[in-house]
């Protein structure tokens, strides 16, 4: 009989310790003479002054770019339906309520 793998917290702790040791090893081999707060700790952009942090970070909505791009055919009509006019939304509500009532009526008759 094949024994199934099981979740053991000590495995995670050992893996964490090993990872921390590897990271520490890499960091200890690095350049220690950087002057903090100077250009030496700035990112290198081919000699350009790096822009402010807010401007160079990817905004969170960009993460979903591929998602929206793939589902564009679905999203475009739904976005068009969201006109921002309350009358339209009430019409949607009444239409969907009528459709639901119709479905329930038919279901009760069957």
């Amino acid at each position: 009989m094949v024994s199934l793998p099981f979740w053991n917290p000590s495995v995670c702790i050992i893996a964490f310790v090993i990872l921390v040791a590897i990271i520490y090893l890499f960091r200890s081999r690095g350049q220690k003479k950087y002057k903090k707060g100077t250009a030496q700790t700035d990112i290198f952009l081919s000699g350009e002054k790096p822009p402010a942090v807010e401007q160079r970070h990817i905004r969170s909505h960009n993460i979903y770019w591929g998602f929206f791009q793939t589902l564009k055919r679905y999203y475009d009509p739904t976005v068009r339906a969201h006109t921002g006019i309350i009358n339209d939304y009430i019409l949607w509500f009444i239409a969907l309520a009528a459709l639901t009532a119709l479905i329930l009526l038919i279901a009760s008759l069957i």
Binding site: T38, A39, Q40, D42, F44, S46, K49
Partner: protein
């Protein structure tokens, strides 16, 4: 000139401040199998933040002056600056051009000059080796 130790490799960043590319081709030649400086541990790197030595070519075009300073400031200490070619020394064939603000040593401190138009790869390699000795002496202090 002698090197006491090869404790670590020497990483070099190459910055072109408006060169005609003659000196840059000679720097490239130093990396080819004929000269092969990487066998000594001398390696070109893609960012000044990893570099020990700056190899600067070109007469410093106006647009490049702030970039030159930024790259110099981004290089960790101790660092050496080598100017390769006549243009970086005194303007070379571009001397008195309207859009030059060089030479290099008017903007950043220079440790070693390599004259020539362009200098031979042997001269560039010797300059880098001299920079290595200076760095070792600076580190020993």
């Amino acid at each position: 000139m002698s090197l006491n130790s090869f404790k670590r490799a020497l990483w070099v960043f190459h910055l072109n401040t408006g060169s005609c590319n003659g000196c840059d081709i000679e720097i490239l030649a130093a990396l080819t199998p004929r000269y092969d400086v990487e066998r000594f541990g001398i390696m070109l790197v893609g960012t000044p933040r990893h570099a020990d030595v700056l190899l600067v070519t070109g007469p410093v075009a106006r647009q490049m002056a702030p970039r030159l300073k930024q790259v110099y400031e981004q290089t960790p200490d101790p660092k050496m600056v080598i100017v390769v070619g006549n243009c970086g020394l005194e303007g070379g064939v571009f001397y008195e051009s309207y859009n030059l603000v060089g030479p290099v040593d008017q903007h950043i401190p220079v440790d070693i000059y390599v004259p020539g138009c362009p200098p031979r790869p042997e001269a560039i390699i010797e300059a880098v080796a001299k920079a290595w000795v200076k760095l070792e002496k600076a580190a020993a202090k």
